[in-house]
Protein backbone atom coordinates (compact mmCIF):
# COMPACT_ATOMS: atom_id res chain seq x y z
CA UNK A 1 0.00 0.00 0.00
CA UNK A 2 1.19 3.49 -0.82
CA UNK A 3 2.34 5.33 2.31
CA UNK A 4 1.67 8.90 3.37
CA UNK A 5 4.81 10.97 2.97
CA UNK A 6 6.47 13.26 5.51
CA UNK A 7 8.50 15.99 3.86
CA UNK A 8 10.76 18.39 5.75
CA UNK A 9 11.26 21.67 3.93
CA UNK A 10 14.53 23.56 3.98
CA UNK A 11 14.66 27.23 3.02
CA UNK A 12 18.01 28.00 1.46
CA UNK A 13 19.51 31.46 1.16
CA UNK A 14 22.94 31.99 -0.39
CA UNK A 15 23.71 28.31 0.20
CA UNK A 16 22.62 28.20 3.86
CA UNK A 17 19.40 26.84 5.37
CA UNK A 18 17.16 29.41 7.02
CA UNK A 19 13.51 29.36 8.09
CA UNK A 20 10.94 32.08 7.77
CA UNK A 21 8.01 32.32 10.16
CA UNK A 22 4.99 33.48 8.17
CA UNK A 23 7.35 34.54 5.38
CA UNK A 24 9.42 36.98 7.51
CA UNK A 25 12.08 36.94 10.28
CA UNK A 26 14.75 34.47 9.31
CA UNK A 27 16.94 32.34 11.57
CA UNK A 28 20.01 30.46 10.41
CA UNK A 29 19.62 26.72 10.84
CA UNK A 30 22.55 25.10 9.07
CA UNK A 31 24.22 23.40 6.19
CA UNK A 32 21.92 21.93 3.51
CA UNK A 33 23.93 18.77 2.85
CA UNK A 34 24.24 17.92 6.54
CA UNK A 35 20.58 18.65 7.20
CA UNK A 36 19.56 16.54 4.18
CA UNK A 37 21.57 13.58 5.49
CA UNK A 38 20.09 14.11 8.96
CA UNK A 39 16.51 14.02 7.66
CA UNK A 40 17.23 10.99 5.47
CA UNK A 41 18.46 9.16 8.60
CA UNK A 42 15.38 10.32 10.50
CA UNK A 43 13.11 8.62 7.97
CA UNK A 44 12.01 11.59 5.87
CA UNK A 45 10.33 10.36 2.68
CA UNK A 46 11.41 13.29 0.53
CA UNK A 47 12.89 16.74 0.99
CA UNK A 48 11.99 20.12 -0.43
CA UNK A 49 14.57 22.86 -0.83
CA UNK A 50 13.22 26.33 -1.33
CA UNK A 51 15.75 28.80 -2.69
CA UNK A 52 14.92 32.19 -1.23
CA UNK A 53 18.10 33.90 -2.47
CA UNK A 54 17.35 37.21 -4.09
CA UNK A 55 20.63 37.58 -5.97
CA UNK A 56 21.99 36.00 -9.10
CA UNK A 57 24.99 34.72 -7.10
CA UNK A 58 22.62 33.08 -4.65
CA UNK A 59 20.90 31.25 -7.52
CA UNK A 60 24.22 30.01 -8.83
CA UNK A 61 25.10 28.78 -5.34
CA UNK A 62 21.83 26.83 -5.32
CA UNK A 63 22.98 24.74 -8.28
CA UNK A 64 26.08 23.77 -6.27
CA UNK A 65 23.90 22.95 -3.28
CA UNK A 66 21.67 20.74 -5.46
CA UNK A 67 24.69 18.92 -6.87
CA UNK A 68 26.15 18.32 -3.42
CA UNK A 69 22.83 17.11 -2.01
CA UNK A 70 22.18 14.83 -4.98
CA UNK A 71 25.60 13.28 -4.52
CA UNK A 72 24.87 12.14 -1.00
CA UNK A 73 21.11 11.70 -0.71
CA UNK A 74 19.31 8.45 -1.61
CA UNK A 75 15.74 9.80 -1.36
CA UNK A 76 13.96 12.15 -3.76
CA UNK A 77 14.13 15.91 -3.41
CA UNK A 78 12.39 18.89 -4.94
CA UNK A 79 13.81 22.33 -5.54
CA UNK A 80 11.69 25.47 -5.72
CA UNK A 81 12.21 29.20 -5.73
CA UNK A 82 13.29 31.41 -8.57
CA UNK A 83 12.56 28.93 -11.33
CA UNK A 84 11.26 31.11 -14.15
CA UNK A 85 12.13 29.33 -17.37
CA UNK A 86 12.73 25.95 -18.95
CA UNK A 87 16.44 26.79 -18.76
CA UNK A 88 16.18 27.21 -14.97
CA UNK A 89 14.43 23.82 -14.72
CA UNK A 90 17.15 22.19 -16.81
CA UNK A 91 19.91 23.61 -14.58
CA UNK A 92 18.30 22.35 -11.39
CA UNK A 93 17.17 18.94 -12.68
CA UNK A 94 20.48 18.28 -14.41
CA UNK A 95 22.28 19.11 -11.17
CA UNK A 96 20.43 16.13 -9.71
CA UNK A 97 17.10 17.34 -8.27
CA UNK A 98 14.19 14.97 -8.89
CA UNK A 99 11.49 17.61 -9.19
CA UNK A 100 11.21 21.36 -9.55
CA UNK A 101 8.52 23.39 -7.92
CA UNK A 102 6.99 26.37 -9.75
CA UNK A 103 5.02 29.05 -7.97
CA UNK A 104 4.86 32.69 -9.10
CA UNK A 105 6.36 31.89 -12.50
CA UNK A 106 3.58 29.37 -13.23
CA UNK A 107 0.85 31.90 -12.40
CA UNK A 108 2.51 34.59 -14.51
CA UNK A 109 3.00 32.23 -17.45
CA UNK A 110 1.06 28.94 -17.13
CA UNK A 111 2.64 27.66 -20.38
CA UNK A 112 5.79 27.12 -18.33
CA UNK A 113 4.13 24.13 -16.63
CA UNK A 114 3.48 22.52 -20.01
CA UNK A 115 6.98 23.27 -21.27
CA UNK A 116 8.48 21.57 -18.22
CA UNK A 117 6.10 18.61 -18.34
CA UNK A 118 6.69 18.07 -22.06
CA UNK A 119 10.43 18.15 -21.62
CA UNK A 120 10.90 16.25 -18.36
CA UNK A 121 7.55 14.54 -17.76
CA UNK A 122 4.83 15.61 -15.33
CA UNK A 123 6.43 13.69 -12.47
CA UNK A 124 9.20 16.31 -12.37
CA UNK A 125 6.87 19.31 -12.20
CA UNK A 126 5.38 20.38 -8.89
CA UNK A 127 3.16 23.45 -8.80
CA UNK A 128 3.33 25.25 -5.45
CA UNK A 129 0.27 27.25 -4.49
CA UNK A 130 0.07 29.82 -1.68
CA UNK A 131 -3.59 30.20 -0.71
CA UNK A 132 -5.40 32.49 1.71
CA UNK A 133 -9.08 32.57 2.61
CA UNK A 134 -10.92 35.40 0.88
CA UNK A 135 -14.28 36.49 2.27
CA UNK A 136 -15.40 38.29 -0.88
CA UNK A 137 -14.44 35.32 -3.03
CA UNK A 138 -16.07 32.85 -0.63
CA UNK A 139 -13.07 30.62 -1.22
CA UNK A 140 -9.30 30.72 -1.07
CA UNK A 141 -7.37 33.11 -3.26
CA UNK A 142 -3.99 32.32 -4.84
CA UNK A 143 -1.09 34.59 -3.89
CA UNK A 144 2.29 34.97 -5.56
CA UNK A 145 5.64 36.62 -4.84
CA UNK A 146 6.11 34.85 -1.51
CA UNK A 147 2.56 35.61 -0.44
CA UNK A 148 2.82 39.34 -1.02
CA UNK A 149 0.68 39.69 -4.12
CA UNK A 150 -2.95 38.67 -4.60
CA UNK A 151 -3.93 37.16 -7.95
CA UNK A 152 -7.30 36.79 -9.66
CA UNK A 153 -7.16 33.02 -9.27
CA UNK A 154 -9.46 31.09 -6.97
CA UNK A 155 -7.50 28.13 -5.65
CA UNK A 156 -9.60 25.23 -7.03
CA UNK A 157 -9.75 26.80 -10.49
CA UNK A 158 -5.99 27.35 -10.44
CA UNK A 159 -4.99 23.85 -9.33
CA UNK A 160 -7.25 22.32 -11.99
CA UNK A 161 -5.65 24.57 -14.59
CA UNK A 162 -2.17 23.62 -13.35
CA UNK A 163 -2.92 19.90 -13.53
CA UNK A 164 -4.46 20.24 -16.99
CA UNK A 165 -1.28 21.92 -18.08
CA UNK A 166 0.87 19.06 -16.79
CA UNK A 167 1.57 19.54 -13.07
CA UNK A 168 2.42 16.17 -11.55
CA UNK A 169 1.89 17.21 -7.95
CA UNK A 170 0.48 20.16 -6.00
CA UNK A 171 2.32 21.67 -3.04
CA UNK A 172 -0.40 23.55 -1.21
CA UNK A 173 0.45 26.11 1.47
CA UNK A 174 -2.20 27.71 3.62
CA UNK A 175 -1.02 31.24 4.33
CA UNK A 176 -3.66 31.53 7.07
CA UNK A 177 -2.20 28.59 8.96
CA UNK A 178 1.48 28.96 8.11
CA UNK A 179 3.66 29.60 11.15
CA UNK A 180 0.78 29.34 13.61
CA UNK A 181 1.43 25.68 14.57
CA UNK A 182 -2.29 25.14 15.12
CA UNK A 183 -2.59 22.47 12.46
CA UNK A 184 -2.88 22.26 8.68
CA UNK A 185 -5.82 23.84 6.87
CA UNK A 186 -7.98 20.75 6.56
CA UNK A 187 -10.84 22.29 4.59
CA UNK A 188 -8.50 23.78 2.01
CA UNK A 189 -6.43 20.60 1.68
CA UNK A 190 -9.50 18.39 1.31
CA UNK A 191 -11.07 20.69 -1.26
CA UNK A 192 -7.91 20.72 -3.38
CA UNK A 193 -7.15 17.01 -2.98
CA UNK A 194 -10.64 16.06 -4.10
CA UNK A 195 -10.57 18.31 -7.13
CA UNK A 196 -7.36 17.05 -8.76
CA UNK A 197 -6.12 13.63 -9.86
CA UNK A 198 -2.51 14.17 -8.81
CA UNK A 199 -1.00 13.93 -5.30
CA UNK A 200 -1.34 16.91 -2.96
CA UNK A 201 1.28 17.92 -0.39
CA UNK A 202 -0.22 19.90 2.49
CA UNK A 203 1.86 22.66 3.99
CA UNK A 204 1.54 25.35 6.64
CA UNK A 205 0.53 24.99 10.25
CA UNK A 206 2.12 21.75 11.48
CA UNK A 207 2.62 21.96 15.24
CA UNK A 208 2.29 18.39 16.45
CA UNK A 209 2.14 14.77 15.31
CA UNK A 210 -1.66 14.85 15.66
CA UNK A 211 -1.82 17.57 13.01
CA UNK A 212 -0.27 15.18 10.50
CA UNK A 213 -2.85 12.52 11.26
CA UNK A 214 -5.69 15.01 10.69
CA UNK A 215 -4.37 16.22 7.38
CA UNK A 216 -3.93 12.66 6.07
CA UNK A 217 -7.37 11.49 7.19
CA UNK A 218 -9.75 14.49 7.22
CA UNK A 219 -7.64 16.59 4.87
CA UNK A 220 -7.05 13.74 2.38
CA UNK A 221 -3.48 14.86 1.77
CA UNK A 222 -1.03 12.47 0.12
CA UNK A 223 1.96 14.06 1.80
CA UNK A 224 2.61 16.69 4.42
CA UNK A 225 5.38 19.22 4.61
CA UNK A 226 6.79 21.00 7.63
CA UNK A 227 9.84 23.04 8.46
CA UNK A 228 10.34 24.71 11.81
CA UNK A 229 8.88 21.97 14.03
CA UNK A 230 11.49 19.63 12.59
CA UNK A 231 14.34 22.13 12.38
CA UNK A 232 13.93 23.27 15.99
CA UNK A 233 13.34 19.68 17.12
CA UNK A 234 9.92 20.35 18.62
CA UNK A 235 9.15 16.94 17.24
CA UNK A 236 10.97 14.62 14.85
CA UNK A 237 10.07 12.78 11.68
CA UNK A 238 10.54 9.57 13.65
CA UNK A 239 8.11 10.64 16.37
CA UNK A 240 5.52 11.77 13.86
CA UNK A 241 5.77 8.48 12.01
CA UNK A 242 5.48 6.30 15.09
CA UNK A 243 2.41 8.31 16.15
CA UNK A 244 0.86 7.85 12.69
CA UNK A 245 1.55 4.11 12.80
CA UNK A 246 -0.27 3.84 16.15
CA UNK A 247 -3.22 5.64 14.60
CA UNK A 248 -3.31 3.28 11.66
CA UNK A 249 -1.98 5.69 9.04
CA UNK A 250 0.36 3.78 6.72
CA UNK A 251 3.86 5.25 6.70
CA UNK A 252 7.24 3.90 5.76
Amino acid sequence: MLTKRIIPCLDVKEGRVVKGVQFVSLRDAGDPVELAAFYDQEGADELVFLDISASHEGRETMVDVVRAVAGSLAIPFTVGGGINSLEDMKRILRAGADKVSLNTSAVLRPELITEGADYFGSQCIVVAVDARWDETLGSWRVYTHGGRRATDWEVIAWVKEAVNRGAGEILLTSMDNDGEKQGFNLALTKAVSESVSVPVIASGGAGSAAHFEEVFTTGKADAALAASIFHYKETSVKEVKSFLKQKGVVVR
Binding site: T3, A70, I75, P76, F120, G121, Q123, C124, S197
Partner: protein
Protein backbone atom coordinates in the same frame (compact mmCIF):
# COMPACT_ATOMS: atom_id res chain seq x y z
CA UNK B 1 32.08 -1.95 -15.74
CA UNK B 2 28.48 -0.75 -16.08
CA UNK B 3 27.18 1.08 -19.14
CA UNK B 4 24.38 3.57 -18.53
CA UNK B 5 22.36 4.16 -21.68
CA UNK B 6 22.04 7.89 -22.34
CA UNK B 7 19.35 8.35 -24.96
CA UNK B 8 18.04 11.69 -23.76
CA UNK B 9 15.27 10.42 -21.51
CA UNK B 10 15.54 11.30 -17.88
CA UNK B 11 17.85 11.80 -15.02
CA UNK B 12 21.05 9.79 -15.38
CA UNK B 13 22.73 11.80 -12.68
CA UNK B 14 21.12 10.05 -9.73
CA UNK B 15 21.75 6.59 -11.17
CA UNK B 16 25.40 7.44 -11.76
CA UNK B 17 25.70 8.93 -8.25
CA UNK B 18 24.30 5.70 -6.78
CA UNK B 19 26.93 3.70 -8.69
CA UNK B 20 29.63 6.06 -7.40
CA UNK B 21 28.48 5.40 -3.87
CA UNK B 22 28.70 1.67 -4.57
CA UNK B 23 32.23 2.27 -5.92
CA UNK B 24 31.37 0.85 -9.30
CA UNK B 25 32.99 1.93 -12.52
CA UNK B 26 30.61 3.10 -15.21
CA UNK B 27 30.33 4.91 -18.51
CA UNK B 28 27.40 7.01 -19.70
CA UNK B 29 26.94 6.85 -23.45
CA UNK B 30 24.52 6.79 -26.37
CA UNK B 31 27.05 5.00 -28.57
CA UNK B 32 26.53 1.24 -29.00
CA UNK B 33 30.27 0.77 -29.64
CA UNK B 34 31.11 2.40 -26.30
CA UNK B 35 28.38 0.58 -24.41
CA UNK B 36 29.57 -2.74 -25.87
CA UNK B 37 32.64 -2.42 -23.61
CA UNK B 38 30.42 -2.65 -20.52
CA UNK B 39 29.77 -5.93 -18.69
CA UNK B 40 26.29 -4.95 -17.65
CA UNK B 41 23.86 -2.33 -18.90
CA UNK B 42 21.47 -0.05 -17.05
CA UNK B 43 18.63 1.46 -19.08
CA UNK B 44 17.12 4.34 -17.07
CA UNK B 45 14.39 6.63 -18.29
CA UNK B 46 11.41 8.78 -17.50
CA UNK B 47 8.95 10.24 -19.96
CA UNK B 48 6.99 8.85 -22.86
CA UNK B 49 7.35 5.24 -24.04
CA UNK B 50 6.90 6.14 -27.70
CA UNK B 51 9.54 8.91 -27.63
CA UNK B 52 11.95 6.63 -25.79
CA UNK B 53 11.58 3.81 -28.34
CA UNK B 54 11.99 6.26 -31.19
CA UNK B 55 15.26 7.51 -29.72
CA UNK B 56 16.50 3.99 -28.99
CA UNK B 57 15.78 2.98 -32.60
CA UNK B 58 17.30 6.12 -34.09
CA UNK B 59 20.53 5.73 -32.14
CA UNK B 60 20.65 1.98 -32.97
CA UNK B 61 20.46 1.30 -29.26
CA UNK B 62 17.42 -0.98 -29.56
CA UNK B 63 19.39 -3.43 -31.71
CA UNK B 64 22.39 -3.11 -29.45
CA UNK B 65 20.32 -3.95 -26.35
CA UNK B 66 18.72 -6.99 -28.02
CA UNK B 67 22.13 -8.27 -29.16
CA UNK B 68 23.63 -7.62 -25.74
CA UNK B 69 20.92 -9.75 -24.13
CA UNK B 70 21.16 -12.46 -26.81
CA UNK B 71 24.84 -12.80 -26.00
CA UNK B 72 23.97 -13.35 -22.35
CA UNK B 73 24.78 -9.81 -21.18
CA UNK B 74 22.95 -8.42 -18.17
CA UNK B 75 20.42 -5.65 -18.61
CA UNK B 76 18.56 -3.68 -15.93
CA UNK B 77 15.75 -1.34 -16.93
CA UNK B 78 14.65 1.27 -14.40
CA UNK B 79 11.20 2.90 -14.38
CA UNK B 80 10.37 3.65 -18.05
CA UNK B 81 13.48 1.59 -18.80
CA UNK B 82 11.73 -1.44 -17.32
CA UNK B 83 8.54 -0.82 -19.31
CA UNK B 84 10.58 -0.65 -22.53
CA UNK B 85 11.67 -4.27 -21.97
CA UNK B 86 8.10 -5.43 -22.71
CA UNK B 87 6.24 -5.89 -25.97
CA UNK B 88 4.12 -2.78 -26.24
CA UNK B 89 2.59 0.19 -24.46
CA UNK B 90 -0.74 1.92 -24.86
CA UNK B 91 0.88 5.28 -24.00
CA UNK B 92 0.01 7.78 -26.77
CA UNK B 93 -1.45 5.02 -28.92
CA UNK B 94 0.08 1.54 -29.11
CA UNK B 95 3.87 1.59 -29.45
CA UNK B 96 6.20 -1.39 -29.82
CA UNK B 97 8.78 -2.06 -27.12
CA UNK B 98 11.99 -4.09 -27.05
CA UNK B 99 10.02 -7.34 -26.56
CA UNK B 100 12.65 -8.89 -24.31
CA UNK B 101 9.93 -9.81 -21.81
CA UNK B 102 6.32 -10.88 -22.43
CA UNK B 103 3.62 -8.38 -21.54
CA UNK B 104 2.31 -4.91 -22.19
CA UNK B 105 2.17 -1.53 -20.50
CA UNK B 106 -1.17 0.05 -19.57
CA UNK B 107 -2.31 3.15 -17.67
CA UNK B 108 -3.71 3.17 -14.14
CA UNK B 109 -7.44 3.73 -14.58
CA UNK B 110 -7.71 6.16 -11.65
CA UNK B 111 -10.91 4.36 -10.54
CA UNK B 112 -10.98 1.32 -8.28
CA UNK B 113 -13.45 -1.58 -8.54
CA UNK B 114 -15.96 0.39 -6.43
CA UNK B 115 -15.54 3.36 -8.77
CA UNK B 116 -13.70 5.42 -6.15
CA UNK B 117 -11.11 7.80 -7.56
CA UNK B 118 -7.45 7.26 -6.71
CA UNK B 119 -4.40 9.34 -7.54
CA UNK B 120 -2.40 8.87 -10.72
CA UNK B 121 0.64 8.90 -10.89
CA UNK B 122 1.42 6.20 -8.35
CA UNK B 123 3.86 8.44 -6.51
CA UNK B 124 5.66 7.71 -3.25
CA UNK B 125 6.88 4.86 -1.08
CA UNK B 126 5.19 1.51 -1.44
CA UNK B 127 6.09 -1.87 0.02
CA UNK B 128 7.43 -4.68 -2.10
CA UNK B 129 5.92 -8.16 -1.85
CA UNK B 130 8.31 -10.88 -2.99
CA UNK B 131 6.58 -13.37 -5.30
CA UNK B 132 9.36 -15.41 -6.87
CA UNK B 133 12.94 -16.17 -6.06
CA UNK B 134 15.33 -13.93 -7.88
CA UNK B 135 19.05 -13.30 -7.41
CA UNK B 136 18.12 -9.60 -7.16
CA UNK B 137 16.30 -10.26 -3.89
CA UNK B 138 19.13 -12.24 -2.32
CA UNK B 139 19.59 -11.42 1.37
CA UNK B 140 16.81 -8.82 1.35
CA UNK B 141 13.52 -8.54 3.20
CA UNK B 142 10.35 -6.95 1.88
CA UNK B 143 10.70 -3.20 2.29
CA UNK B 144 9.56 0.17 0.92
CA UNK B 145 10.80 1.65 -2.34
CA UNK B 146 10.03 4.89 -4.19
CA UNK B 147 7.69 4.81 -7.19
CA UNK B 148 6.69 7.49 -9.70
CA UNK B 149 4.71 6.24 -12.67
CA UNK B 150 1.32 6.41 -14.39
CA UNK B 151 1.67 3.25 -16.49
CA UNK B 152 2.35 -0.29 -15.32
CA UNK B 153 3.17 -3.69 -16.75
CA UNK B 154 0.60 -6.43 -17.28
CA UNK B 155 1.96 -9.89 -18.00
CA UNK B 156 0.50 -13.39 -18.09
CA UNK B 157 3.85 -14.91 -17.24
CA UNK B 158 3.67 -14.52 -13.47
CA UNK B 159 7.06 -16.15 -12.94
CA UNK B 160 8.63 -13.04 -14.50
CA UNK B 161 7.32 -10.88 -11.63
CA UNK B 162 9.84 -11.26 -8.80
CA UNK B 163 8.21 -8.60 -6.64
CA UNK B 164 5.09 -6.48 -6.77
CA UNK B 165 3.46 -3.58 -4.93
CA UNK B 166 -0.22 -3.01 -4.24
CA UNK B 167 -1.72 0.09 -5.82
CA UNK B 168 -5.32 -0.71 -6.70
CA UNK B 169 -3.89 -3.68 -8.62
CA UNK B 170 -0.75 -5.77 -8.06
CA UNK B 171 1.85 -3.67 -9.82
CA UNK B 172 4.89 -5.58 -11.13
CA UNK B 173 7.76 -3.85 -9.32
CA UNK B 174 10.74 -6.12 -10.01
CA UNK B 175 10.80 -8.29 -13.11
CA UNK B 176 13.45 -10.86 -13.83
CA UNK B 177 14.01 -13.44 -16.52
CA UNK B 178 17.44 -14.98 -17.05
CA UNK B 179 19.75 -12.02 -17.71
CA UNK B 180 17.01 -9.38 -18.13
CA UNK B 181 15.85 -7.37 -15.11
CA UNK B 182 13.61 -4.43 -14.46
CA UNK B 183 12.61 -2.20 -11.57
CA UNK B 184 9.49 -0.06 -11.91
CA UNK B 185 10.49 2.08 -8.91
CA UNK B 186 13.66 4.15 -8.58
CA UNK B 187 16.29 2.10 -6.70
CA UNK B 188 18.61 5.11 -6.78
CA UNK B 189 15.98 7.05 -4.78
CA UNK B 190 14.86 4.24 -2.50
CA UNK B 191 17.20 4.64 0.45
CA UNK B 192 19.16 1.65 1.70
CA UNK B 193 16.73 -0.89 0.17
CA UNK B 194 17.29 0.60 -3.27
CA UNK B 195 21.04 0.58 -2.81
CA UNK B 196 20.94 -3.10 -1.77
CA UNK B 197 18.95 -4.01 -4.88
CA UNK B 198 21.43 -2.19 -7.11
CA UNK B 199 24.26 -3.90 -5.28
CA UNK B 200 22.72 -7.30 -6.02
CA UNK B 201 22.49 -6.43 -9.71
CA UNK B 202 26.14 -5.32 -9.71
CA UNK B 203 27.16 -8.59 -8.02
CA UNK B 204 25.41 -10.55 -10.76
CA UNK B 205 27.24 -8.58 -13.42
CA UNK B 206 30.52 -9.06 -11.61
CA UNK B 207 29.89 -12.80 -11.23
CA UNK B 208 29.69 -13.19 -14.98
CA UNK B 209 33.00 -11.47 -15.76
Amino acid sequence: MIGIVDYGMGNLFSVSKALERLQTEFIISDDPAELAKADGIILPGVGSFRDAMMLLERKKLATFLKNHVDKGGFLLGICLGMQLLFEESEENGPAKGLSLLPGKVVRFSGRDSKNNAYKVPHMGWNKLTFNNHSPLLKGLEEDYVYFVHSYFVVTNETEVVAASAKYDVDVPAIVAKDNVFGMQFHPEKSGSMGMSLLKNYLSLVKGRQ
